[in-house]
């Protein structure tokens, strides 16, 4: 048997196991139904802001009369307005009356159905003032360049004396919240399925036939890969539908520019954290022989996942505190804490690097520990095995 053929057969065994998980679990009714439900919920959540109020769409404003051009320049610079120019004040007035535009500004008057939202009113006011100043200066004989120079005002720079750890943007907070929830769900569910699958194979004794043609690492690795792929597909479906709905309703442009990169890096953190928790779940799952007992061995894993999640939620309120820094660097908590923190605050590159390396090291350790536990205890039946006992047993 050449090295190459045994290499291919090793990979084939791994892929066959992963393929079975994907077919049997991923294509099961339960998974498909839960995936559709989650995706629909994500879609609704993404569409919700535009249902409520719909004030995220551009305001339709009609302009006419003197200063209309200057007004349009101002409104375009502010953004968020969809401007229509009318030939006469009467036409603009009629458009506002018919509801073709939200409001119409003509000859110093603003027409609207029932008055305006104060934010819009303020913006229109300041645009009107700026436009009027521009017109007046022009009337006073200044050139366009002089007017532009006179109107250019440096905005106030904000200097605060307190700790600026407070959430600087509400969007950052929500992005962080969504990331931590999704990370938590996407780790919790497959981790439990891995443990259940291991116990199922053990309690049904099928593992004895499997191990005549597979190595323990193929059996465990294939299971982890299979469930990883299923979760990844779920994750991608959620993100795709969420972003798709958001862009269809025009919400997407309002999200901060970092959102996409935060989502991409979260997938990286998820992969490492999943390798860590997944292989450990397989290892501890193999310690028991009956499904009823799996809860007790999984408790430490579920506890640390829950703690990571709660820690990340807590971190959202104090993203630059020492607690947040430590939590986002120490594995296994960093798996959820770091991408959450990255969504809400600037994180120094060295901290990201350190956290990533530590998490990857922990995952490698978990891989070794989980597969050793699995290898040594998967064929053992009877009462629950202690971890120390499993590690003492000769492989």
């Amino acid at each position: 048997m050449s090295d190459q053929t045994s290499e291919t057969s090793r990979m084939r065994g791994l892929m066959l196991v992963a393929g079975r998980e994907i077919r049997v679990r991923g294509l099961s009714k339960a998974n498909i139904v839960s995936m559709i439900v989650t995706v629909v919920i994500v879609g609704i959540l993404a569409a919700l802001p535009s249902f409520l109020g719909g004030d995220d769409a551009d305001e339709k404003i009609g302009l006419a009369g003197t200063g209309a051009d200057a007004m349009q320049t101002q409104l375009d610079a502010m953004g968020g307005f969809d401007v229509t120019l009318f030939d006469s004040a009467a036409e603009a007035e009629r458009a506002a009356e018919d509801g073709d535009v939200e409001a119409a500004v003509a000859d110093g008057r603003v027409y609207s159905e029932n008055g305006l939202d104060s934010a819009v009113q303020n913006q229109l006011d300041s645009a009107w003032q700026a436009a009027s100043v521009q017109t007046n200066l022009g009337d006073a004989g200044l050139t366009d360049a002089q007017i532009a120079g006179a109107l250019t005002v440096q905005p106030l720079e904000s200097v605060t004396f307190g700790d600026d750890s407070g959430t600087d943007s509400i969007t950052g907070y929500f992005t962080g919240l969504v990331i931590s929830i999704i990370m938590f769900m996407m780790l919790m569910t497959p981790v439990q399925y891995i443990a259940m699958g291991v116990v199922e194979e053990k309690s049904s004794r099928i593992v004895e036939i499997l191990l005549t043609s597979l190595k323990p690492w193929q059996l465990l690795g294939g299971k982890v890969i299979g469930l990883g792929v299923i979760s990844l597909v779920n994750l991608v479906a959620m993100v795709a539908v969420g972003l798709g709905v958001a862009s269809a309703t025009g919400m997407l442009s309002d999200l901060p520019p970092g959102t996409a990169s935060a989502a991409v890096s979260s997938i990286g953190w998820w992969l490492i954290a999943f390798a860590l928790f997944g292989t450990l779940a397989g290892g501890v799952g193999s310690l028991v022989s009956r499904q009823e007992e799996s809860g007790s061995v999984l408790t430490p894993l579920i506890m640390s996942l829950t703690l990571s999640y709660l820690g990340a939620i807590f971190l959202l309120n104090a993203p630059t505190s020492t607690f947040a820094v430590v939590l986002s660097i120490v594995p296994p908590f960093s798996g959820i804490a770091m991408p959450t923190r990255m969504a809400i605050a600037e994180v120094p590159a060295w901290q990201i690097g350190l956290s990533g390396v530590l998490l990857a090291l922990a995952a490698a350790g978990a891989l070794a520990l989980g597969s050793q536990l699995y290898k040594r205890s998967v064929l053992y039946t009877g009462s629950r095995m202690k971890i120390s006992e499993a590690l003492r047993r000769a492989a």
């Binding site: 048997m1 049904s204 004895e208 036939i209 005549t212 190595k215």
Partner: protein, 289 residues
């Protein structure tokens, strides 16, 4: 040729195997019998590589058995196991693939086996929805799907109805006829006698007897059974050790021609032959010896 050589295995203080050796030549069906706890399952699990021996080795065609070769073996463990929530045909084919078949080969083989086992109409059902006996048949299909080179079956007949027993028996003989060594354990000694070329008897982790069925029978102490049509009691007159079994005389340790002469003189001899011990008797004899 599959050879199991001098296996030793302890579980804590229990000595499960104490120098077990047996062999199955190409085309030979070997029956493996022994009392509960004698060590049959332990021996077979070591042969299939799911349990490590303390010492001893498994030799296949003259060389130590490797993982790749073992993948071409068919194994039925004593504790049966199938994925309960996987469809019957899909499951059988999956095991075919694990044993190195392509997907198409595995599917074709699974379909053929289901046909042979009268399970074609259950191909799309979950295994957990089948009756226990039918699950056994699926288990058999799983061990045969890849057309194995060697069969190692731990109590393959337990739980099967007579028809399934016949199917299983035929499958074993077919595999052997195709040149595969076959080893199976069973407590149904009539089946062993009917199907096996040779028998290995294990007791307390040691091989206590082995050989072809004829050899084992020949080794047994011979008893001469004589039936004579007479009112006379011949017990005192016949030579050797004489016991009565109903109206028959059982005679041991003597000259059979002398017995025949005396019996014929006493009346019409209706039966005169050596008793053939059954495997069951040999087994009882061997384990109590």
């Amino acid at each position: 040729m599959l050879e199991i050589k001098d296996l030793h295995k302890r579980f804590g203080d229990t000595v499960a195997l104490d120098g077990v050796s047996l062999a199955a030549a190409a085309g030979e069906v070997v029956g493996f019998v022994g009392a509960n706890g004698a060590g049959k399952t332990t021996t077979m699990r070591i042969a299939m590589g799911v349990l490590a021996a303390d010492s001893g080795q498994i030799v296949y065609n003259g060389a130590p058995l490797g993982v790749e070769q073992r993948r071409r073996f068919g194994y039925m463990p004593s504790e049966r196991g199938l994925y309960p929530k996987m469809k019957t045909a899909e499951q059988i084919a999956y095991f075919g693939e694990l044993h190195g078949m392509t997907r198409a080969q595995a599917r074709a083989s699974a379909a053929a086996l289901l046909e042979q086992l009268n399970l074609s109409d259950r191909a799309g059902d979950f295994v957990q929805d089948l009756s226990l006996g039918n699950q056994q048949r699926v288990q058999l299909a799983v061990s045969l799907v890849h057309d194995p080179e060697v069969l190692v079956l731990d109590e393959p007949f337990s739980g099967l109805d007579p028809i399934a027993v016949d199917v299983m028996g035929t499958a074993l003989r077919d595999r052997a006829a195709a040149g595969a060594p076959v080893i199976f354990s069973s407590h149904q000694l009539d089946l062993i006698e009917r199907l096996c070329d040779s028998v290995v008897i294990i007791g307390n982790g040691r091989i206590i007897a082995s050989g072809t069925v004829e050899e084992l029978k020949a080794k047994e102490v011979k008893q001469l059974r004589v039936s004579v049509d007479t009112d006379e009691d011949l017990t005192g007159r016949l030579p050797g050790t004489v016991t009565r079994d109903g109206d028959d005389y059982l005679v041991e340790d003597t000259d059979d021609q002398e017995v025949l002469r005396i019996a014929a003189a006493a009346g019409r001899v209706t039966h005169f032959a050596y008793d053939q011990p059954t495997i069951a008797e040999i087994f009882r004899e061997a384990v109590t010896r």
